[in-house]
Symmetry: D4
């Protein structure tokens, strides 16, 4: 288990902050902590994501070597976010799929794509020991 009082933080590029606000707050349901002229800071599933206004975003979304996301401990959390993303028409880079079917590492995964081509992966493992 991780420490509930610690926060992971991640800085990513955003080509436009209103777009980023729209994607992370209005669509994904993250909370806005602060807004400055050059960045917004988000409570992203309990951790912190900062979108920095930047022109160094990827022109094409790429799965490797950079992406980020959440591995949920409850399947309902994974399913609820999937339902939200479908309902609110978030762009899927790769839809729901199963990896390592039949193996102990089996997990469910989907990739979302933010307006600056950052990729977000959400996962659920049947055996929580496999999350790392």
């Amino acid at each position: 288990m991780r420490d509930a009082n610690t926060v992971f933080h991640l800085a990513i590029p955003a080509r436009d902050l209103d777009e980023a606000f729209d994607f992370y707050v209005k669509k994904l349901g993250c909370k806005l902590a602060r807004r400055y002229h050059d960045r917004i800071t988000l409570d992203f599933f309990g951790d912190q994501v900062v979108c920095h206004l930047s022109d160094q975003f990827d022109e094409e979304p790429q799965m490797y070597p950079r992406h980020f996301g959440i591995t949920f401990s409850e399947k309902s959390q994974f399913d609820n976010l999937y339902k939200l993303a479908k309902q609110r028409e978030v762009t899927f880079f790769r839809d729901l799929s199963t990896r390592f079917e039949g193996l102990i590492e089996e997990h469910l995964t989907y990739f979302l794509q933010d307006p600056s081509n950052n990729l977000l992966e959400f996962k659920y493992y049947y055996d929580p020991r496999m999350m790392y």
Copy 2:
């Protein structure tokens, strides 16, 4: 507070996996979860960092728009990691400094640099509400 059973995961490029193992496990004291031919997965302060073998690493380390790290809730955690990094001669991209001195947002910060030029920022806020 975040959920202790959820895991944030981040994929980053590594130009060499032995180098990455050396930096994250031997130096930073992270735990190795799995090793494959093309990546290693780490328990990074309770969350997951995956180093993917890749030639798409940054030639020059850049503070913005991409970096990641931990915001600690206890000053001793922040200080212990600083001591470890100095003792084990980890490369500092920017040494210990104070930001927003005198303001409620005041915090301590330092940036480390991994062998593939990924930048890691560690922070400590005097007021934990400012962590987001």
Copy 3:
């Protein structure tokens, strides 16, 4: 998640303290912490509600802009309180209903009315991320 050791407190008007005691303690099953000549303090589902003797209560109960209550994390908590309120013949301002049916924001809600026309809303969201 909120901090289990912090307490939210809310002061509301009561036209009569015995009535308030009867409603909050005998009917709703809240605990009495203290009783003074001009107020009673309650452990209201773990937070604090203080009923101040006052003639500034609303003559007519109004849903907006003021009401308060609890959003439960477990459906059984929501259902148990509903059963209690029905059995003990608490006044409902609005009976059980569903809002945003089919959407990710879908939740169950009912409004109770205390003897001083304060309105209490109790809610349950199928996706707990939508509680805020």
Copy 4:
């Protein structure tokens, strides 16, 4: 102790939503969860406050019978918020004072005033059993 997964929610009037956003998010450091044309929802110290656009706000701020706020379990939390409020020039309805000095009920308190004349009280008790 209260349940960390439950949320207290409170609806209050706001004469202007931008003003409310400015007060609660930019000044007090609460997080914005959602924004609609007629209300904003906030993660207020872990609980939920909803500001409803309304002309039914109090013309004059009044301490009784209605106010709300947080009773902190750690003195540093109380002190940090006080420092923030002073630094960011939040309006104090009543500055820091001690109540019941020398008694077991002794606590520190200050009242803030939002732009719609809602009053917020923050408290710290030396004996946490007295919080209710």
Copy 5:
């Protein structure tokens, strides 16, 4: 919720310490913390019960005004203890019964009797708010 680090302690009479050990440790599955010539101390479901050698025990077991026990939060805990008590042929003062059937206060209960005629009641409420 109660504080997990606090311990409730209860001192009760025992006419014979070996008998008490047999009842509480061998039968009920409590843990022995310490044994002195005039008392044994027990970890009784996480709290402390001390059996003092004494001739002031009740000649006849009486349900009122004195008895003690545990109210479980999980039905399986209640059921498991019942199964244990039946299997190990613990004396029941009153077998499993339901109180307040159909009401929100409905709960399951049984009373055990120790060799010194102390009565132990174990309970399970369908609505955990009714436990107090």
Copy 6:
């Protein structure tokens, strides 16, 4: 550690319920959960004490073999209750004293006496492993 969701319950005699309410709620600061014609139920430091109207109380308070109370994990909790008891002029059966001085079992203790001659012991151990 004990389970935070379980409740220890203890039934004791009270010769008068108003007296018991005065002692446990007004003086000791426990919360009243329910009041019936023949008993009151209390949230006693997170566990449950029920005072049953009864003429079977002890004529003389006796330390053995029956008493009950709380062993605190924080010294400030022990000290705060002592201060409260002195300030509110609760009857002490035995004032603050140290037992097993210099030994690992060393602890602080005092005994209070309720109006029906039930004795309450509150303790603090310097080594929390000795609490059982």
Copy 7:
């Protein structure tokens, strides 16, 4: 319940550290914390196991008097590890069996064997009070 911040540590012999790494990390899915020339240290289900290079291992695996392992609180944890062990062809010293069938002590158990003939037992009790 045990303290989540404490760590049990166990030192055991390993005739070869690569073998030990292979067994504990690659097969059992434990995390490698550190590797020295004469030992590896492991995060073994949250506790610490250290494999010391040694020729004092048992030539023949023996169930008594020495073995170690984990008693799980959730049956799914027990089942997941069993599935993992079968899939990854870990050596079973004794396959899945039930002990004390029908009694309150009933539990499921299997024994694994590491390359240095250390035996690992994993258990699940239907009544968690029986785990000690």
Copy 8:
């Protein structure tokens, strides 16, 4: 952090069960869970140690490759046990010493010896990340 509901269990040899009871319960302050003709089971600092009657104990206590114990997260826990061991004249195999002085791995350690020559190591790290 480890899971508070899981239990590590360790079986060790004991040449005499009364001796083992005396050492683990009367001296170290562990709790006795069960006693059979051929073993005793103990709540050892929250985990389980089982002493099996056996003649396969070590004739000479040896630090490597087998020993076990607890790494405490609070220095007071480490110090309290040291004080207890000295006061109750437990046999020390190696008295209090510091390892890796000045390094981030610096920790305090002492080894106790049980009557069957099993060695118990207790540790405290200044940086808790080094515990694994």
